[in-house]
């Protein structure tokens, strides 16, 4: 059973390009539809947890599903399973494709000169898609602009993204608390 668990997650890690949602749907197919290790409800439950926590979605869901199936040892096995293919493949690439080689081999240097601007484009695309799903309004659209500019500025302290993660979370909770208290007050008033 543990071996099965390992092999299943190893295969998912080895054959899925990109993490995130691409991987989630494949994990769901394997562990829910094909192997019946967890029910659909349990899987969706784990997905909520995985999304609410920091870290990589695919790793979070592997830990959760493994834990559900076989407890602590299951979560360790499934995590190793999903991480190991990436680790091995990148290690082999890193050993042979060194930064020195990329810079000094004229063919590779030219290829990577073309790739680098495309990589930037690959990061701009999710800026727009996440901005859309974040449902930014005129009252909140300034936040990403300020955050991006300050991280980009490389100024001490304010350029550290951790500061903005903590601040965003705290202010979000404070704002929600205020909104909750207000709605409670108006409820009390309307009852009077």
């Amino acid at each position: 059973m543990l071996w099965q668990l390992f092999i299943t997650f190893f295969k998912i890690g080895a054959f899925t390009f990109g993490g995130g949602w691409a991987m989630i749907s494949i994990i769901e197919k394997e562990v829910v539809d094909k192997r019946h290790w967890v029910t659909k409800e349990d899987f969706l439950d784990q997905l909520i947890v995985a999304q609410s926590l920091p870290g990589l979605l695919a790793a979070n869901i592997a830990v959760g599903v493994g834990d559900k199936i076989r407890g602590r040892i299951g979560s360790i096995i499934s995590t190793i399973g999903i991480v190991l293919p990436s680790f091995l493949m990148i290690l082999i690439i890193a050993i042979f494709l060194t930064p020195d080689l990329i810079n000094h081999n004229p063919t590779l240097a030219a290829i990577f000169k073309g790739i680098r601007p495309a990589v930037v484009a690959l990061i701009i695309a999710p800026v727009i898609t996440t901005a859309k799903t974040a449902k930014l309004k005129w009252s909140t659209a300034w936040i990403p602009v300020i955050v991006a500019l300050l991280i980009w500025s490389k100024w001490p302290i304010v350029s550290n993204p951790i500061l903005w993660v903590v601040l965003g979370a705290l202010l979000g909770v404070c704002y929600a608390r205020r909104a909750m208290l207000r709605s409670q007050k108006s409820k009390v008033k309307s009852q009077e």
């Binding site: 947890v49 991480v83 990436s86 493949m89 990577f112």
Partner: protein, 190 residues
């Protein structure tokens, strides 16, 4: 000690990495490139290689960065053995917070994910995540990646714009975009 510093950096990356791999890039940029361990150019190459190999970008880049940084930091670590050790350390550390949090806090989250606290937390995080991804893109738009003479810059901007259109509007998978850009680069810059 480079390994302790890598461990500490990746612990922070794993712990504050809300919003997935792309948002994590801003953290990696700040921790790893900001420490002077690798150049912006190498970081961009690592992102490209991570995109082209199976697996989440956060894990792929951790392995590659862990392998490269010890040798870059000191000549004493130039033996590949030290690189493999670094790769194991960074890959392990980036999933460690995930692992502990999922195992020990999932019952709490299941109970409270509908509460105003969690909802408020994420309403505050979402705009920040957008800003973090944008900053990662902005930081990589530099002379190291786009070239410095006019011909290089013009070609680079055209490639970037074309790649964006193909990925965003035509929804072509990033791997094909990277392969096409590499081919284009070969013919343009050789």
């Amino acid at each position: 000690m480079i390994y302790l510093r890598l461990f500490w950096s990746y612990l922070k990356i794993g712990l504050f990495g809300f919003g997935g791999g792309y948002a994590m890039l801003a953290l990696i940029e700040n921790e790893i490139v900001g420490s002077g361990w690798i150049t912006e150019k190498m970081f961009t190459d690592i992102v490209a290689i991570s995109q082209m190999t199976p697996g989440p970008i956060g894990i792929n880049s951790a392995t590659y960065i862990g392998y490269v940084v010890p040798a870059e930091s000191s000549a004493a670590f130039s033996n590949p053995f030290w690189g493999v050790l670094g790769a194991i350390l960074c890959t392990f550390t980036v999933v460690l917070p995930s692992f502990l949090l999922v195992v020990y806090t999932s019952h709490l989250i299941r109970k409270h994910h509908d509460s105003w606290v969690v909802k408020g937390l994420f309403s505050g995080l979402r705009p920040v995540i957008v800003g973090m991804i944008a900053s990662a893109a902005m930081l990589l738009m530099n002379g190291e990646n786009f070239g410095t003479d006019t011909r290089d810059v013009v070609w680079s901007i055209s490639l970037c714009a074309a790649a964006f259109c193909v990925v965003y509007f035509a929804k072509i998978h990033p791997i094909w975009v990277i392969i096409a850009a590499g081919l284009a680069g070969y013919f343009i810059f050789i």
